[in-house]
């Protein structure tokens, strides 16, 4: 992952820099233009929500920023790394070190306890140690006493909080959350969103949250709206 932006200042430059991003899927003989030129800046320590209707390209943007899919065109820099130049292996390494994912369906491994789900993410990230404030994060998430349970024994809210802990264990540059409250009731949704906001405020964790819910988006510092594959600040 040596594809850094020349002449950049990691402290002041945007942690996410997107210019003219396009993504085209080939479905049979048909080209589907999921992203049609997205421009986006996210500053270090910012909590940004991306809102938009279904089919607006939110999830595609999430996948590209998370290194799960390559862009078709345009520029994407994550913490100074040019995603266009990365091989699949390098994108995997990006996910290990710079990205933490929180999904709508929690996506915890059902055979492992909460503790082991977190430990596995740490092992895959080749991290020798956890963040010094990880205990504080667990305290904030309120799951310390539930770590030895498997996902099936946890409520949806608890599972999502474990997923947040898992996403943070390798000290990612960016926490990407895709509809993190989509499967939760109002009470748990507010709790999870409150936790994300607290994390952002207390630890300076950069968070980009995809949602279609304006109330959820309101928890963020800033909201951008996507429509028809384009992003409007």
């Amino acid at each position: 992952m040596s594809s850094a932006v020349p002449n950049t200042n990691p402290q002041t430059d945007p942690i996410i820099l997107v210019r003219g991003l396009t993504k085209t899927y080939h479905v049979g003989d048909v080209d589907v233009h999921a992203l049609r030129g997205v421009d986006l800046n996210v500053q270090r320590g910012e909590f940004l929500s991306v809102i938009g209707p279904s089919g607006s390209g939110k999830s595609t943007l999430f996948h590209i920023l998370g290194g799960l899919a390559p862009p078709s065109g345009g520029e994407v820099f994550i913490d100074g790394v040019d995603l266009r130049k990365l091989t699949e292996n390098q994108r995997t390494e990006l996910r290990q070190r710079k990205i933490g994912f929180v999904f709508q369906k929690y996506n915890l491994l059902p055979t492992l306890t909460a503790r082991d789900n977190i430990a596995l993410a740490q092992a895959l990230g080749h991290a020798d140690s956890r963040p010094s404030n990880f205990d504080e994060i667990l305290q904030l998430l309120g799951i310390k006493h539930r770590l030895d349970h498997k996902p099936r024994a946890l409520s949806g809210g608890e599972q999502q909080r474990v997923a947040i802990a898992r996403a943070l264990v390798n000290q990612p540059a960016i926490l990407l959350a895709d509809e993190p409250t989509g499967n939760l009731d109002t009470e748990n949704s507010n709790a999870v969103l409150g936790i994300l906001r607290d994390l952002n405020k207390r630890t300076g964790q950069t968070i980009l949250m995809i949602t279609h819910n304006p109330e959820a988006a309101a928890f963020a510092d800033r909201t951008v709206t996507m429509r028809d594959g384009k992003c409007c600040d």
Binding site: Q96, F103, L109, L120, A123
Partner: protein, 367 residues
């Protein structure tokens, strides 16, 4: 942590894991039992050959060490051999198959007793008539026989005159002349081999050479020591081929079972594979997880197979002590394990590669 994930995955679907390991185990047991039975039967035959008391065997020159054919040797050779220097006793033996792997031996009892020192009877005594039969204790136990009972063999009614300790000549021994009549070897009288006892066993090697020169083209002499040494699986090409076939079958079955188990697991765990990839697992890591699961299945199957082979040995020894002799073959454990492992690894390759190539986004969207 990866090892923990592997173990938890196997525990999660424990019935499938157990069944897959059991099938692999049955294959391992099959291999171990085949080798154990082969060696057991050969060892028992060797023991009976040694127990005959002979120093040299004389067999028709045309047949190999191991032959199930009978009646190829004219009985007139026996008195000729007895007249040779250093020959203390020579006895003709006729062997005939009565079951798949059970033979009946015909001898002149008084002459054989001079050679071997006689049978040790646990019940009854030597034959007193032409239709008398002597069996060893294992055969009597397996078939529930007792002295005085009538036994049908070769469509002939025999009276069980005595039960002897095993390890001498054969499990079933009858008067030579009766067996010759029943097997069409009476005119002229024919036998399968001649047992020779020397007055000085230290001359065995020289006497073997002497007999081979004297009887060249008619009889082949072999010392009992050399004869017994040839009782090895490696000296029986048909058995080696059979072992090879069983081994190939074990690899194929192991491959199919593990393939099916792993393939099902990969399809079931599509979303989990997507999660692993999102967390930063490389394709090699995903393949590694599947391979470790396959290796664990093979190891569990191997341990089960060894256990099953012990259980099968106990059952066979209890039910068929005379028909099937089985010995433990710990030297074959690594080979059987390697065979199981080979099958398991082959079975894990395709599902493993399928999982490794899985697109993370599609896998995460899998319901």
């Amino acid at each position: 942590m990866i090892n923990k994930l592997v173990i938890e995955n196997l525990k999660h679907r424990w019935v499938r894991t157990l069944l897959a390991a059991l099938v692999v185990g049955v294959q391992v047991m099959s291999i171990l039992m085949l080798i154990g039975l082969s060696r057991g039967l050969l060892q028992e035959s060797a023991q009976r050959a040694r127990g005959s008391g002979a120093d040299i065997f004389l067999k028709p020159d045309t047949q190999g060490t191991f032959s199930f054919s009978s009646g190829q040797l004219n009985q007139a050779f026996v008195p000729f051999v007895r007249k040779q220097p250093h020959v203390a006793q020579a006895v003709g033996v006729l062997s005939a198959n009565v079951k798949l792997i059970t033979t009946i031996n015909g001898v002149d009892f008084p002459e054989f007793e001079k050679l071997s020192g006689g049978f040790h009877f646990q019940g009854g005594g030597p034959p007193s008539g032409p239709n008398d039969l002597v069996v060893d204790a294992a055969y009597a136990r397996e078939n529930g026989l007792h002295v005085g009972q009538t036994v049908m063999l070769l469509n002939h009614a025999w009276r069980l005159s005595g039960i002897v300790e095993g390890g001498v000549l054969g499990r079933l021994v009858v008067p030579l002349t009766t067996l010759q009549q029943l097997t069409g070897n009476a005119t002229p009288p024919r036998i399968s081999e001649i047992l020779v006892k020397l007055d000085n066993p230290s001359l065995t090697s020289e006497e073997v050479t002497h007999f081979n020169e004297l009887l060249k083209g008619n009889l082949q002499a072999i010392s009992v020591g050399d004869f017994v040494a040839q009782f090895s699986v490696n000296n029986i090409p048909a058995l080696q081929a059979f072992i090879a076939v069983i081994t190939i079958m074990a690899v194929v079955v192991g491959f199919l079972v593990v393939f099916l188990s792993m393939y099902t697991a990969v399809v079931e765990r599509t979303r989990e594979i997507g999660i692993l990839k999102a967390l930063g697992a490389k394709p090699a890591t995903v393949l590694d997880i599947l391979v470790r699961e396959a290796v664990l299945l093979a190891v569990a199957g191997c341990v089960l197979g060894i256990g099953l082979s012990y259980a099968a040995r106990v059952l066979i020894t209890a039910w068929m002590p005379a028909s099937l002799a089985v010995i433990n073959t710990p030297d074959w454990w690594p080979k059987a394990g390697a065979i199981a492992l080979a099958g398991a690894l082959l079975g894990a390759i395709y599902p493993g590669l399928k999982a490794a190539r899985q697109d993370a986004i599609e896998a995460l969207a899998y319901e």
